[in-house]
Amino acid sequence: MKRILHYSLFLTLLSLVATSCVNDDTDFDDIIAQYQMEPAEIKLDYSELTEAADVPVTDENDSAYNDYVENSPWNKIIYITFGGPSPVVEGTVPGVAVQTNGNHVTVMNISGPVKFVVSGRTTDGSLKFYGDKRFQLLLNGAEITNPHGAAINNQGSKSMYVVLAEGSVNRLQDGTFYTMVDEEDQKAALFSEGQIIFSGKGQLDVIAEGRGGIRSDDYIRIRPGVKINVYSSALDGLRANDGIIVDGGAVNVATTGAGAKGVRSGGEMTINGGRLVAISQGDTRLGANDDGDSDTTACAALVCDTLLTVNAGVVKLKATGDGGKGLNAKQNVIVNDGHFQAVATGTKEMKKPKGVKIDGSFYIKGGYFYSYSRRSDPLDVAGATSIAPGYITYQLTAKLLTIAY
């Protein structure tokens, strides 16, 4: 009996020890899998884009009427061809003076709508326009590098229609250091005080090393058919003070500068079609504010200071630097349709990286919305969030938000 008791006790103890093999850790498997989920791949996209026909506005009362190059007469033409010690300038137009200094060309236009057809290559040249008259700049295989400033600089406040000749590849590049002119801005490799309207079926590559890539102190409109690639290692890639309208086209923007934005719109930004891919790789910039206090500026693939509306098209945004945002919207964001993706994979040493940060409210009524933040919440909305019923996918995890209609 005693032996049985001893054996029973021994077996009881043995089984207690043997069953003490359960791990008492919190089960983080699912959560870690969410955290380690790789985001959707976003990279510059050079593939052909099939777009609907670009139908110009013909109603003169339409506010966009003047944005269509087709609605102005272009019978006054001047040809500027680079390729030698100085460009060949052909054609004369009363009221238009063309001066050359080597391959640096200055145009004074007080005539009216004039079409400038630019082609050829220069490694130390530029085009500068004066005069408050709208003009067309038809780039037909132009390759302009200005080591001392902007490659193209429009000091006039009227529309600059940049038309990319069908099948042409054009290239504009600035220098690391700009030689400034008193009381004149030159904020980018392609700069305009007035609005810039891109159209045509060619390609434009802009390389910015000193300042921004493309910048307007007014607004920018991009029409279907164009291919624009902007690579900036200094400041913002594509920027407009008063707004950006993307009706179409294939646009790639890549920035690597600290604090630089891929695309920045100071006014309303509306995307009606096309494909916009913006990748910001820079880290947060440490500087000083107007009061001299230290200040930090984070990167973003897209910054919109007022209303951002996505009606159609494809928008892909990625920020990889410290504190970088995919989208940093200062006011409301409305997604009516289209395909929107934003990814933030940067560190958060100085600023918090976020896939989408909206200081206003967020409304989604259709399309596809995807936001991923490796090191914070995928969607940060200060105001209200309104998701219209009818979606077929709503997935929210620690790092990812997907809404699809």
Binding site: L13, L16, V17, S20, C21, D24, F28, R375
Partner: protein, 252 residues
């Protein structure tokens, strides 16, 4: 000791226990302590021993510690004993979770891991007998050294596993144990109760035991006890725990 004295002592013992043992909480853990050892008396004054111990936690389901130790004790006086010992500890360190400043989002997760520690101790035990009741006070200085070890850590900010070095460090603790043991006539079981305080800069931990010793033919010694441990230090990863213990010592 007369019957009335015995009853009074029993009542006193129960009152002391009732006072020191708090009401168990449902959040408290439960575990097991199993030990087996040998001891040898070289003389009436000098003895040496060795012991292996196993502990569990998480309601008996998770192994917490395996240890191997040896000690020697010397009786300077019939009422004063000194001892010294060394224990090699293999600990299953509990997981550690830290949160962001918002207190909601995770910051880091360090899963549980097995690590080694070395423990040295020296003790002085004074005892006093009142008829069949022995009161003893043991003061033990204990030094434990944890060598550095590189372990896995999941950083939720970085969304990645990274190596985390648990730095080597030593810890000094003063353990003060007050014990009452009762030698009941014609009974093979000797009950005991004690309370032990672990002190560093403040009170770190309190342990209370209630148990019995049972010896067969002076060679086989068994001990069974209930332990309740209260952790006071917020920096300690241990929690309050109820434990059942069984021990066996072979004396030769």
């Amino acid at each position: 000791m007369g019957r009335s004295q015995r009853n009074q002592l029993t009542a006193l013992l129960l009152l002391v226990l009732a006072a020191i043992i708090p009401t168990p909480s449902h959040a408290d853990d439960a575990g097991l302590v199993l030990s087996a050892g040998v001891s040898h008396k070289f003389s009436k004054k000098l003895s040496v021993g060795a012991e292996a111990e196993f502990r569990s936690r998480n309601d008996f389901r998770t192994a917490e510690r395996v240890s191997l130790g040896a000690d020697a004790s010397y009786k300077f006086l019939p009422w004063l004993k000194a001892s010294a010992g060394y224990v090699l500890l293999f600990d299953n360190n509990r997981e550690e979770i830290t949160y962001q400043d918002d207190g909601v989002n995770y910051n880091n997760w360090r899963p549980s891991y097995w690590g080694v520690r070395h423990r040295f101790n020296v003790s002085l035990t004074g005892s006093y007998k009142i008829q069949r009741v022995e009161l003893s006070l043991r003061e033990r200085w204990q030094y434990t050294y944890r060598p550095s070890k590189v372990i896995d850590n999941f950083d939720f900010d970085e969304a990645m596993w990274e190596d985390h070095e648990v730095r080597g460090k030593g810890k000094n603790v003063l353990r003060s144990r007050l014990q009452v043991e009762w030698d009941i006539p014609k009974c093979k079981f000797d009950p005991f109760a004690n309370v032990e305080f672990y002190t560093r800069s403040g009170l770190d931990k309190t342990r209370m035991h209630l148990g019995v010793n049972h010896t067969i033919k002076k060679k086989h010694s068994f001990q069974a006890f209930y332990r309740y441990q209260i952790v006071n230090s917020s920096s300690d990863t241990e929690g309050d725990i109820h434990m059942l213990g069984l021990g066996y010592t072979y004396k030769f």
